[in-house]
Symmetry: C3
Subunit: 401 residues, 3 copies
C-alpha cells in the first residue's frame, strides 16, 4: 500500500487529470463525518447552529443526547438557531411561527400558530447522525437518505499497530484526553488541508517560540526520494496518506549553502510524522511533544472559509495524569502550540486563497515540485474515495423532503 512520489518529470497534465475531481470539490466532501462542537460548548437543552459544506445544521442536546437537524425552517427558511425555542425534550420549535420538529425524525409535529394544519406530519427536515466521544461532537453531513452511514472510525486516522514502538493515542481511545480550540479561517478548506501535512513548510515555523524554547530540531525541508517515503491507505478502513519521515527515503535538508542558512535545534523528536485522511483529518504523531498527538480538521463552511480544529490528545489512564495533562495544555500547549505555532499556518492558507479562489488560476498555474509529492498523492486519493462532493452554491437551500 505505498506508491512512488509523483515527480515533475511526469507530464503535469497527466497528474492533473488524476486529481481533477479534487479541483472541483470547492464546497467540500459530502457524506463524511466532521467535528461540530466541543462537548463543553453544548450544555443540556442548548441549541446552536453551524455550517458544514454550506449546509446549515442545528444541534441540540436533550437528556444528554445530541441531535442534529437542518437549520432552516421548512416554512419561510429562517435559521432556527438564531433564536432557539424548545418546549419539550423531544422537539425543536421555530421562533417565527412555531413550526415544531421532532428531534429524532425531523418530522413537523405541530405548528404553534396553527396546530391542526394539514401539513403537520407531512413536512420533515433532514436529520444528521451524531456521535460524541472524548469531548467532541461529530456530525455526519450527508445527502438526504445516504446509506449506509459509515462508522465514525472510517473518517478518522487509524489506530497505530499494537507493536509499533512509538505509540500515541487514537481519538476514540477510552483513555484519551482530547483538548483543543477551533477558529474560522478565510481560505478554502483544501488550502488548510494541504498546508497541514506539507513537508516543505517546516521552514515557516523555524522561529516559533515553542520551537526555540524546546530547542526542537526542525529541518529546513523534507524531500521524498524513494518508494517508502509515502504510505498510502487505500484498502479497508480510512483512506489517506502518510509522510514516512523516518523511512530513510526522505531527504532531510539541514542547510542552504546558497543562502547561508543552517537548521537549528538540538532535540530531535523520535517517531514524528504526519498523515492525512478523508475528509481532511491531520494526524501529527509525537507533536507538540513525544507521546502526544495533534489532530486537525479543516471543516468546509463555504467556498472561502473553513473551521479550523486543532486538538492535542494524550493517553491518561489515571485521574492524576489527566490533571497533569490539563495543566500542561492550559499553561503551554494551547497558546504556544495550537496558538502561536499554528498562527503561521493560518497566515499561509489565507495568503494562498486569492490564487486558488474562483477567478484565480492557481489550480492550473501552481508550480509543484518534488517535495509536493504527498500533496499530489492526497489529491488523487480524494478523487478516488470521496463519498460525494458538494456543488457550488451561493445560498445553499436544497429541497426539503
Amino acid at each position: 500500500m505505498s506508491e512512488t512520489a509523483t515527480r515533475r518529470s511526469e507530464p503535469v497534465s497527466a497528474a492533473r487529470r488524476q486529481f481533477d475531481p479534487y479541483t472541483k470539490a470547492v464546497w467540500g466532501l459530502m457524506n463524511h463525518w466532521y467535528p461540530a462542537f466541543f462537548s463543553s460548548e453544548l450544555g443540556e437543552d442548548e441549541a446552536k447552529g453551524i455550517k458544514v459544506c454550506g449546509i446549515p445544521v442545528i444541534l441540540r442536546r436533550a437528556n444528554g443526547e445530541v441531535f442534529a437537524l437542518r437549520d432552516q425552517c421548512a416554512h419561510r427558511g429562517v435559521r432556527m438557531s438564531i433564536r432557539p425555542a424548545c418546549f419539550t425534550k423531544d422537539t425543536l420549535t421555530c421562533w417565527y411561527h412555531g413550526f415544531t420538529y421532532d428531534l429524532e425524525t425531523g418530522k413537523l409535529v405541530t405548528i404553534v400558530a396553527a396546530p391542526d394544519d394539514p401539513i403537520v406530519g407531512d413536512v420533515k427536515l433532514q436529520t444528521f447522525p451524531v456521535r460524541e466521544k472524548n469531548g467532541i461532537i461529530y456530525v455526519f453531513v450527508g445527502d438526504d437518505g445516504y446509506e449506509p452511514v459509515p462508522d465514525l472510525a472510517e473518517d478518522l486516522p487509524p489506530k497505530l499497530p499494537a507493536d509499533y514502538p512509538h505509540q500515541v493515542p487514537h481519538l476514540l481511545d477510552d483513555d484519551a484526553v482530547v483538548l483543543g480550540i477551533r477558529r474560522t479561517v478565510a481560505s478554502n478548506w483544501r488550502l488548510g488541508v494541504e498546508n497541514g501535512f506539507d513537508p516543505g513548510h517546516n521552514w515557516l515555523h523555524r522561529d516559533s517560540p515553542i520551537v526555540v524554547a524546546l530547542d526542537t530540531a526542525l529541518p529546513l525541508g523534507l524531500v521524498p526520494r524513494g518508494p517508502n517515503a509515502l504510505t498510502t491507505f487505500e484498502g479497508d478502513g480510512p483512506k489517506g496518506i502518510r509522510n514516512e519521515w523516518d523511512s530513510g527515503d526522505y531527504d532531510v535538508v539541514m542547510s542552504s549553502e546558497k543562502l547561508g542558512l543552517q537548521a537549528r535545534g538540538a532535540n530531535k523528536i523520535p517517531g514524528l510524522r504526519t498523515s492525512i485522511f478523508l475528509p481532511g483529518v491531520l494526524m501529527v504523531e509525537h507533536w507538540p511533544a513525544y507521546g502526544l498527538a495533534q489532530y486537525e480538521w479543516y471543516v468546509p463552511i463555504d467556498d472561502e472559509h473553513h473551521e479550523y480544529w486543532a486538538v492535542v490528545a494524550k493517553s491518561c489512564p489515571t485521574p492524576a495524569e489527566r490533571t497533569d495533562f490539563e495543566y500542561a495544555y492550559d499553561k503551554l500547549w494551547r497558546d504556544a502550540a495550537l496558538g502561536a505555532f499554528n498562527d503561521d499556518d493560518l497566515f499561509a492558507r489565507e495568503a494562498m486563497e486569492n490564487f486558488y479562489a474562483e477567478g484565480g488560476t492557481g489550480w492550473d498555474d501552481e508550480q509543484l515540485c518534488g517535495m509536493d509529492a504527498v500533496i499530489v498523492g492526497w489529491r488523487k486519493i480524494v478523487s478516488r474515495y470521496a463519498r460525494g462532493y458538494q456543488t457550488p452554491q451561493a445560498h445553499p437551500t436544497p429541497k426539503n423532503a
Copy 2:
C-alpha cells in the same frame, strides 16, 4: 369582493403560477406613491436624496413647496444631493460643474461653467410628482412620462365606511395627527410586507414589553377557516386584502396542547385587524391601542434593502388632544410600539433574506400553510394590479430624456 383562502389542497404549481409576476418584482413596484421624508426632515431651501426602487431622487423645498427630480446630474452622473447647491428658488444646481435645472420641469436652464452651451434647454432630468399631507412628503416614482398620475389616495388604505363602529383615522384626514419613524432594513421589500400582515407571527411578539405592560390578549395564532376570513379589494380605489379577524371565519388559537403553551393577556382589543394595499401599505386598526391606527410602508431601496416606515395616527380635532397624543407618542408609542415591538419584525425579515435572495430557493421551496392564505392572496393581487415592475439593476441609471 371577497375570496376564499387558498388552501394547501390546491396544487402549489397552480397557486404559484398566479403570483409569478410578484416573484419577479425584486426591485419594487413602479408608478406608485411612496413616502419620501417626514415634513420635518426637509426645511425651507433644504435638498436631500433618497433611493426608491433603485432610482435616486432629490427632493427640495422652495417657498414651502416640495419638488422632486432624478438625483443624477445629466453631465457626469453624480448625485446632486451629496453636496446640495441652490442659488435661486426655482432651480437646483449641481456642485460639480454647475449644471442647473428648473425645479418644476427638470430642464437644464444654465451651466455655471459654460452659460451659453448649446445643450442648455435641450437636456432635462426626470421630475416626480410630490404631495405632502399630515407630516409626510409622498413622491410618485414612475416611468418617465407615465400618465395619468393617480391620486395619492389610490395608493393608501381606503377610508372606513362612516357607519363602521370601530373608527380609526385615515392618513389624509384633516384632523389626523401622524407621528412615526423610519429606518433601513436589510431585506427585500416583499419580506417586509409579508411579515407585516402575516396572521401567524403574532406569537413572535408574545413577550414584547408593551404587550406585557398592557396585558394585551395576543392569540398564539390566527387561522382562516371560512369565506369571510379575508376581504379583497379589487374594484375601484386602492387594491389590497384584509384579515377579518372578527368575522367568525378566523380560528383564534389560544393554546398548544402538544407544547404546553397558553396565550396570555386579559385585554382583548375590539376592532383590531390588519390590511395591506398596493404598493405595500399596512394598516393595523386599533393598534397599539383602541382608537389609534398604525400604518407601515416597506419602500424598496434596492433588491436587498427597504426603508421601513412605521407611523401611528390619531384623530385630534382640538389642540389639547394633539398635545396629549404627542406626549403619549413621545413617552410610550415611539419606543415601546414602533421600537421594541417592531424590532422583532425586523429580525424576522432579515432572517428570511438569504432564503429568498438571488441564488436562494425560497420562492420555490417555501412550505406555505393554511394561515398563509392572506399572503398568497396579496401576491395574486399585486400580480394583477401593479402598475409596473422595476427590473433588476446593479447601478440604476436609465437614459435621460
Copy 3:
C-alpha cells in the same frame, strides 16, 4: 499639432466610436511607466509590494539599486511582500517554502526546503524595469517580454521650450526638487485623469482655503472657442493634450447672470495651464504658485481603485533654495494644496464611480458639452497611442514563464 475642439454638433456616436478603446481600458494602460514609491519609502534591503493594473509587483532595494519582480511566488501563488525574506543582496526568498529568485533575472536560483529540485533554474518570475529620479521610483508595467522599453521621459510631460517665458521644472531636471503625497481613491483611474484637467470644474474649488488665502482669481469656467484652445501632442515624444487657457481661444466665464454668481479673487496667475500625457500624468504649470508645477498620476490598481499621486516641483539650484522650498512645502503646500484643495477632486471622482462602473451606463449616457472638448480629445489620443490595455480580471494571475 493642434486640433479643433470636438463640438456637440458632431454626432455623439461618431465621437464615441473614436474613443471606444478607451472605454474598454478598465484596468489601465499596459507597457507604460508608473510611479511605484517615493524613494524615502524604500530603504536599503527593504522590500514592499504594490498593485498596478491589477498586477502584484514587489520592489526591493539592494546596494542602493531598486529591482522589481512579480509579487507572486511561482509555487503556490502567495504574495512575497506580505512577509519579506531576503538573505543575500541579489535574491528574494519567499517566506513560505523558501523559493528564492534572482533579483535581476527573476530566475528561481534555489529552494530552501529542497535545494536540488529539478525545477530550480527552470522557473522564473517576470521582472519589471525600474528607474529612480528626484525622489520617485518608477516601474515599467509591461507585458512579459515587451520591447523595446521606452525611455521614462516618453511617459512624462515634455520639457517646456527653452524660449518659453513662463518656465517650470521638468520632473527629470537635475535641480528639480519634487515633494508630494499619494493615497488610494475609490474610483476608476480614468475618472481621476478626467477630473484632473477638466477646465469646467474650477468652480468646485472656489471656496478652498488656499484660494481664499491667496485671493487667487479663479474663473467660474473655461470654455474652448477657437482652434488654438487645445494643443495635442501626437508626434515624437510623449502623447497628450494641453489646455491653452491664455491662447485667447478660451472663453473665461466670470459670472452667472442667471444665478447671480460672480468669480472672486484679484490675483491672476500668469502661465497657468494644464496638460495630460499618457499613461495619465497631469501637469499644472505655475500651480499652486508661480514658478512651481504640480504633477499628478492616477495609477490603476484595479477596476475600482487608483493610487493618486500629487507632487509639487520647484527648481532649487542651491541648498538654500531647497531648504526654503521644503519649509514652504511642509508648512503650506502639502496640507493646503495637495490636501484640502485636492480633497474636492477626490470627492468628485468617487461620486462619478457608480455611473461609470460595471453595470452603470455612464459611458453611453453622459451628456458632454463644449467645455469637455479636451476630455474627448484625451480619450481619442489614448485610443490611438496606448501601448496596450489591461483586460478585466478578478484575480490577476497570468501564467509564469
